[in-house]
């Protein structure tokens, strides 16, 4: 069923920023900074399977605990990120963020379904800034 109002696809970052389990922590920090992203997905090398995610606070913990010379697998969160469909209503996705305290979605689409983007507070701010009507 088509979404009423803007869809997730209109606001999402249209690609998935990711790294492998063996990516150095410093490289993860560098890429998050370069991309202006808050979190990235971690996958096994040569696989689309998401093993976890690494966010800014995970990297902050690495700084505190002295793990900055480790790998993404040392600092990542193991739980699977929340997912949302690219064609779903953006308003509904934001409602889920608010009600379930989610700050990062992996956006899935296509057939067979696969990750096509990400949605976080940063993308919402950028979307809100370029829209006149309420989303």
């Amino acid at each position: 069923m088509p979404a009423n109002g803007p869809t997730v696809a209109e606001a999402m970052r249209p690609r998935v920023i990711g790294c492998t389990l063996r990516t150095p922590v410093m490289e993860v920090a560098r890429r998050l900074h370069e991309e202006g992203a808050r979190r990235m997905v971690v996958a096994s090398a040569g696989s689309d399977l998401i093993a976890g995610t690494v966010g800014e606070l995970d990297l902050l913990r690495a700084v505190i605990e002295g793990h900055t010379e480790g790998m993404a697998s040392d600092v990542m969160r193991l739980e699977a990120p929340a997912t949302v469909g690219a064609g779903e209503s953006l308003a509904a996705a934001v409602r889920r963020m608010r009600e379930e305290s989610i700050d990062f979605f992996v956006v899935v689409g296509g057939s067979p379904e696969r990750p096509v983007g990400t949605l976080s507070h940063a993308e919402l701010a950028a979307f809100a800034a370029r829209r006149r009507a309420a989303g």
Binding site: A29, E56, L60, A91, D103, H121
Partner: protein, 214 residues
Amino acid sequence: MTAATGVPAVPAAAQSLGDAARTRPVAEVMRHGVVLCDADVSARDAARTMVDRGVTSLLAVDISSELIGLVDEGSLVRAWETLDDTPCIDIVDPDPLIVDPAESVGEVARRMLAAGVTRVLVAPPPPGEESGRWSEWKERGLPLGMLTVTDILSRLEELEAVVRVRPARAGLERRSVAPWIALASILVVAAVIALVLFAYLNGTHQYTNKPGLG
């Protein structure tokens, strides 16, 4: 909230990147200055200001310039359905974490992690006061700036270079005066001289003993 603790110096020979990052004072890593917005502007206008100014949070002030609180990207979620009609004052964090510029990055990082926040305001503490709640701090005027996780992480790269170059240089200096290099050089020179002498003497001997000449 702690009072001023003095500026911890970066150790002369930091042992690791983590040490170098943790012992820096906030004042060396923070982003100086804050971007203000009127507490009455809409949440959407606040979003535009954040994007235009390249920041992730704004300090909301009221008409009498009193500080009201902090608006960040996450605040927008609270008013998503009414972004054009919701004033910033309704979505601000009225009690943001605020730290002293003299505190170490490591100590502040711990507090950020404990509070689950990715940004803190930086302001000097009121002199002689034990308490440091936002309600007292904001009486002292504008904060000096902000410190975000991004600021800390982006400085890691710079610190990494410092930490790695130091031992590399030290090693280079040691190698330049290492006795085995001098000894190896002497041996190589001696070997070359010996070879030349051997070749010369051997050639002369063969020449002088060559029969049938004359």
